[in-house]
């Protein structure tokens, strides 16, 4: 019996060795796949407008890249010929859970790179961990400028602009398009994003239009759901303009309750994160609502082959056009691909080579050219745009679009957003 087992063991060992040799020779012919962890909200309030479009875009982009069907300059299959494997996980659950999930992606899922994160809180929590475990991580959508203004990272990148431009460009648009504004109020969520957004907007308005006064600043808690009293207070404030960075279910609930009460007949609404809701809110979006997309994303994206490509591949997975979370997701994958292929001159691709290739790089995206121009080459800059909604044949369109170059809405290297706005938002000399 023992002889039988020992023979069996030898046979299994030979078989395994054979498989190993075979797979080794196969790998020599077919490059190893590049495993990319993708983290986005698959549940919770941010899933519908942000997380799910980002996931659909990630899947569509990876399929298209692997098939080699992306327009120039991205015609090589996958990343430098290596197929991309996507590992998608849910961003819901808070920062503590996300840090654990991140470590799981690195140590158990053995991903090569990580792309993702919508919440600013998650980005701030993940960046130091990425640095600790030395894993190249590309932040996709979070807005807080603090990631690279308050720290310096080797392994962390953000391939989309930060959120300062939301408030600055909104104030520029308002003061240019409606120079008679005398009063403005706001409704923003009572946490970092809402408070920062309002504070930046208020500072920018004070710089650009010192004569305009603040009427009210409503700060309902995240997920409040009921906005009856806030709507009354805003109506009674008789503000010319209402600024809001509400998003997700909060924005939808606010609009569902405010539109029937006629709030926007009295005041013009500015939604700094409004673009992802154009198709969701439909006719509930009042005509003349001013919307932005933090960059020339979504409806603001310049016409071109890459924009057409993204719309086509996204449409295979959804019944509507891609919104800005989909655009910035595509941006992250194309940025990583550009750097990977530049670094691939030295095979195998080392992290150091890839980091060097991505720092201060420039690459094309469906939203236009992206320049990694801030945060010592780790933070993207690009221009942005604002426009006003108009219902045409039951469809929400955006008209009267104004573009703003990056230097007009983004602080230069080494200057914090708040200081730059307070200092008059002067472009770098």
């Amino acid at each position: 019996m023992s002889k039988f087992f020992s023979r069996t063991k030898v046979a299994i060992a030979l078989m395994l060795g054979g498989v190993g040799l075979f797979s080794g020779s196969a790998h020599a012919q077919n490059p190893q796949p590049v495993r990319v962890g993708f983290v986005t909200f698959l549940s919770g309030p941010a899933a519908g407008p942000f997380g799910v479009p980002a996931r659909l875009a990630a899947e569509a982009v990876v399929e298209s890249l692997n098939a080699g069907k992306v327009p120039a300059p991205y015609t090589t299959k996958g990343f430098g010929g290596a197929p991309i494997e996507l590992v998608v996980i849910d961003e819901a659950g808070g920062t503590t859970k996300q840090v654990s999930e991140y470590r799981n992606l690195v140590s158990r899922q053995n991903v090569d790179y990580i792309i993702g994160y919508i919440s600013s809180g998650d980005c701030l929590a993940i960046a130091p961990v990425a640095e600790e475990v030395k894993k190249i991580t590309i932040l996709v959508d979070c807005g807080t400028p603090r990631v690279f203004e308050e720290a310096s990272y080797k392994y962390v990148f953000r391939t989309r602009p930060h959120a300062t431009m939301d408030a600055v460009a909104a104030a520029l648009y308002l003061t240019e398009q409606f120079p008679d504004i005398k009063t403005y109020g706001g409704i923003n969520q009572n946490y970092a994003w809402g408070q920062d957004s309002w504070s930046d907007f208020e500072l920018a308005m004070k710089t650009l239009k010192p004569s305009a006064t603040v009427t009210t600043s409503q700060m309902p808690k995240f997920g409040a759901g009921q906005y009856g009293a806030e709507i009354s207070a805003l109506m009674q404030s008789n503000s010319d303009v209402i600024h809001s960075s509400l998003w997700g279910g909060d924005l939808e609930a606010f609009m569902m309750q405010a539109v029937p009460r006629g709030l926007f007949k009295k005041s013009k609404l500015v939604l700094v994160a409004g673009e992802p809701y154009l198709h969701r809110l439909g006719s509930n979006m009042p005509d003349g609502t001013i919307v932005g997309a933090r960059g020339t994303n979504g409806v603001f994206a310049p016409e071109g082959k890459l924009k057409t490509w993204l719309k086509e591949i996204y449409r295979t997975k959804a019944d509507h056009d891609p919104n800005y979370p989909a655009y910035v997701t595509a941006m992250a994958f194309l940025g990583l691909k550009t750097a990977y292929e530049k670094a691939k001159a030295k095979v195998p691709v080392s992290d150091d080579a890839l980091i060097a290739a991505l720092e201060h790089s420039t690459f094309e995206s469906p939203s236009g050219r992206v320049v990694m121009g801030l945060g010592k080459g780790h933070q993207a800059v690009m221009g942005t745009a604002y426009g006003s909604t108009k219902l045409v044949n039951g469809q929400v369109t955006v008209v009267n679009i104004k573009q703003y170059p990056a230097e007009r809405v983004t602080p230069p290297e080494g200057v914090s957003s708040a200081d730059w706005i307070k200092g008059g938002m002067k472009p770098k000399q």
Binding site: Q218, Q226, Q236, G249, E252, M256
Partner: protein, 298 residues
């Protein structure tokens, strides 16, 4: 219109909503001494069911006014299914255990229902805005209010009135009060306590689901709404005194008015104000405003 009147109207509307979402929680605790953490999930289930039933009703071309009936029907269906399943299938096995065990069991139900809801309805937000705007709106001074808010106020008054009448003026109510006072003695006197518990829990679930169903037309129904509501509902019933119907009503009015005042006059303390009131009440009356004195059992 004066700020005072606006605060009063907004406070009344918000109080009504608070009462509707909290009354089921206090009813279950009053009779069964179960702090039902799953209350929030049952509220969410009501909202989802209302969106599904109401959406189906409207999509199939029926009279839009019928969508209101669908909201109520959704709450009844959720109550009749989830109530007996949870009470008979789970809770009855842990009666008599410490209250903390019951809290943990209902917390488990909360988590299970959260995931079941995601499985059944997906994670995309759903909405049924039609009933909110269908009844039009009315003006009070320079403010416009949806008529739906009046319906909400009326319904919460109706629920309070019906519950008060049933509890105080009917035989079934007297039986319920007997069980509240002493479960063992009631059983010894021939009262079917198991049936009282089943009916109470089912009605409590129905009220939680009614809260969700009536809220659905005003919000985007999506995962996460359960947790937001349970915190507020707890604040309301704790202020009023756990298990007290009158306490829930008073707690809802206090929280509603204080919040409306804060939003209009001092918006930066709006979030703080609700919990400051709760803390103040608990300092003065640790068991809430209307908590009944407990008889010492020998």
């Amino acid at each position: 219109m004066s700020h005072f009147l606006a605060i009063f109207i907004d406070g009344v509307i918000y109080s009504s909503w608070l009462f509707i979402i909290a009354v089921g929680l206090t009813l279950i605790y009053g009779v069964m001494k179960i702090l039902n953490v799953a209350h929030g999930s049952l509220y969410a289930l009501g909202a989802y069911a209302a969106t599904a039933l109401g959406g189906y009703w409207l999509a199939t071309g029926h009279a839009p006014m019928g969508s209101y009936a669908m909201l109520v029907l959704a709450a009844i269906v959720v109550g009749l299914i989830a109530g007996p399943v949870i009470e008979r299938g789970l809770l009855r096995f842990v009666y008599g255990k410490e209250e903390v065990v019951l809290v943990l069991v209902t917390y488990a139900v909360f988590l299970i229902l959260e995931d079941l809801t995601k499985l059944a309805f997906g994670v995309d937000p759903l909405s049924i805005p039609e009933p909110y705007a269908l009844l039009g709106s009315f003006e009070v001074g320079d403010l416009v209010y949806p008529t739906y808010s009046v319906v909400l106020v009326g319904l919460s008054l109706l629920v309070a009135l019906v519950l008060a009448l049933v509890l105080n003026k009917t035989r079934q109510g007297k039986i319920l009060q007997a069980v509240i006072h002493d479960r063992e003695m009631s059983a010894a006197m021939g009262i079917n306590v198991s049936r009282v518990y089943l009916v109470t829990f089912t009605v409590g679930v129905m009220l939680a689901a009614l809260g969700g169903a009536l809220t659905a037309p005003t919000i985007s129904v999506q995962p996460g709404i359960a947790a937001e509501v349970i915190v507020l509902a707890f604040a309301v019933v704790v202020i009023g005194g756990l298990g007290s119907l009158g306490g829930a009503a008073l707690g809802a009015v206090i929280v509603g008015m204080v919040r409306a005042w804060a939003v209009h006059k001092l918006p930066e303390v709006e979030l703080f104000s609700v919990y400051a009131v709760m803390a103040l009440v608990l300092i003065v009356r640790p068991k809430g405003l209307f908590a009944a004195p407990e008889a010492r059992k020998i």
